[in-house]
């Protein structure tokens, strides 16, 4: 198995409060890894450390190594902007740029990279919208505001926006928690489809969602990685009692 990301001795703080403790984790390439755990356990912080976003939070501090393709993203000469392009992020609440059209939402990241060739932009926008199965739904309304779409469509638009800059890894922070079941199911199908090409890490509160979409699952508790294994093993026969208790709903 090849690993896209290797997390070594990762610790993270908000000011003096340590929120991640000595995390070691190897994230397989082109697979979906779910991070589960109760509120406040450090799930979101963990994925924000993977694209150097945690350091942007007030009081946010990180130590340790996160290797992307074997290179430490926290090395001195690394530009965090490049990392964030390689490691895209999709948030809990769909956040299309409200004043921008559907088209511009997808093209926004590309334009920031300096791409202005209209036909190239058209091509990438169409490809990204097709990847997220949104193309057929919006192809005649590309210049409508992104905010006019339904919640589920907005979230797929945000995923298309993330895909447009051709990332290698996509981080998703509870991407369906604001969506109805049907819209959630579409996102889940999309996650499975995208995993053939991208490495995906999803934080979810919904354990059934983790069981449905992921190949590997990590259980985080009080900032520590309690267990990390194949999803099948975690949900059928977890090794630790703490994981067992959490996933069977005895606490959390």
């Amino acid at each position: 198995m090849s690993y896209k990301i290797e997390i070594e001795d990762l610790n993270a703080w908000f000011n003096a409060k340590k929120v991640l403790k000595d995390i070691y984790m190897k994230i397989p390439e082109k697979a979906v890894t779910a991070i589960i755990g109760p509120s406040g356990c450090g799930k979101t912080t963990l994925i924000r450390c993977i694209n150097r976003m945690h350091e942007l939070s007030p009081g946010g501090k990180v130590s340790g190594r996160v290797l992307l393709n074997g290179e430490n993203i926290y090395a001195k000469d690394v530009d965090p902007v490049i990392i964030r392009r390689k490691v895209g992020m999709v948030f809990q609440k769909p956040n299309p740029f409200p004043m921008m059209s559907v088209y511009d939402n997808v093209a926004a990241g590309l334009k920031l990279t300096g791409l202005n060739d209209k036909s190239k932009l058209d091509e990438i926008v169409e490809k990204s919208l097709k990847l997220t199965s949104l193309w057929e739904e919006v192809k005649n309304e590309l210049h409508k505001s992104g905010a006019s779409l339904s919640g589920g469509q907005q979230q797929r638009l945000c995923i298309a926006r993330a895909l447009a800059v051709e990332p290698e890894v996509i981080l998703m922070d509870e991407p369906t928690s604001a969506l109805d079941p049907l819209a959630s199911a579409k996102i889940e199908q999309l996650i499975r489809r995208l995993s053939k090409k991208y490495t995906i890490i999803i934080v979810t509160h919904n354990m059934q969602q983790a069981a449905r979409v992921s190949d590997f699952t990590g259980f985080l508790y009080l900032g520590e990685l309690v267990e990390f294994d194949e999803t099948k093993k975690i949900f059928e026969n977890p090794k630790t009692e703490l994981t067992e208790k959490y996933i069977t709903g005895e606490f959390g």
Partner: protein
């Protein structure tokens, strides 16, 4: 705090234990009827029929719990195993009925054992395995379940031994068919006792063992 799933699991466990008691009763009754030349078919049939409908109930209830609560880990292992054990218990009942039926049909209720005491020994061991499997079920006892493997080996040895004895017997003997079939049913009951043991080990540890 008890979970919504817990009440369902408890009901299911109660039904399964009740099934276990009925199944043991069916096996013991059929063996006694066979060994002593007594007609017990009506009693065994009604026990076997009860097991058939209880098995359906266990399956339906387990299915509903899966649909409602999407259980995982030990909860999921329990439900999967309970459905399987319910089938094994139903088979106890069915083989018990077969024993009584063939004893009546082919041996005309003649006192069972043709050869020496080996068939009686076999029947005793099978009854013991049934009892052990039900006891293990009541306590989800993986340790006791694993002990079934040892007796199963003895049953297999006796089974082959008895069949060899039969193969040397004159075919005019009236009870031969009944005896051969009964021996086979007993051996199958012993197999199902080990299946129950395997399911109980799986519930307790997640380990997939073969106790034969």
């Amino acid at each position: 705090m008890s979970r919504l799933l817990d009440a369902g699991l408890e009901n299911l466990s109660t039904t399964l234990i009740k099934m276990g008691e009925i199944a043991e009763n069916a096996v013991v009754t059929s063996i006694e009827g066979f060994l002593n030349g007594i007609d017990v078919i009506n009693k065994v049939r009604s026990l076997s029929e009860a097991l058939v409908s209880m098995r359906r109930k266990v399956e339906d209830d387990a299915f509903e719990l899966i649909a409602r609560y999407q259980p995982v880990a030990s909860d999921l292992r329990i439900l999967k195993s309970y459905m399987k054990i319910a089938y094994d218990l139903e088979r106890y009942g069915r083989y018990a009925l077969d024993i009584s039926f063939d004893h009546k049909t082919f041996a005309k209720l003649e006192k069972g054992v043709l050869v020496d005491y080996k068939l009686e020994q076999l029947a005793e061991k099978v009854a013991k395995m049934v009892h052990m499997s039900i006891t293990a079920l009541k306590g989800h006892d993986a340790k006791l379940s694993k002990k079934l493997a040892g007796i199963e080996n003895e049953v297999d040895e006796l089974y082959m031994n008895v069949l060899k004895q039969f193969s040397r017997m004159p075919i005019r003997t009236k009870s031969l068919i009944s005896n051969v079939l009964v021996v086979r049913y007993l051996e199958r009951i012993a197999d199902h006792a080990t299946y129950i043991g395997e399911s109980l080990v799986y519930i307790a540890t997640g380990e997939r063992v073969i106790l034969r």
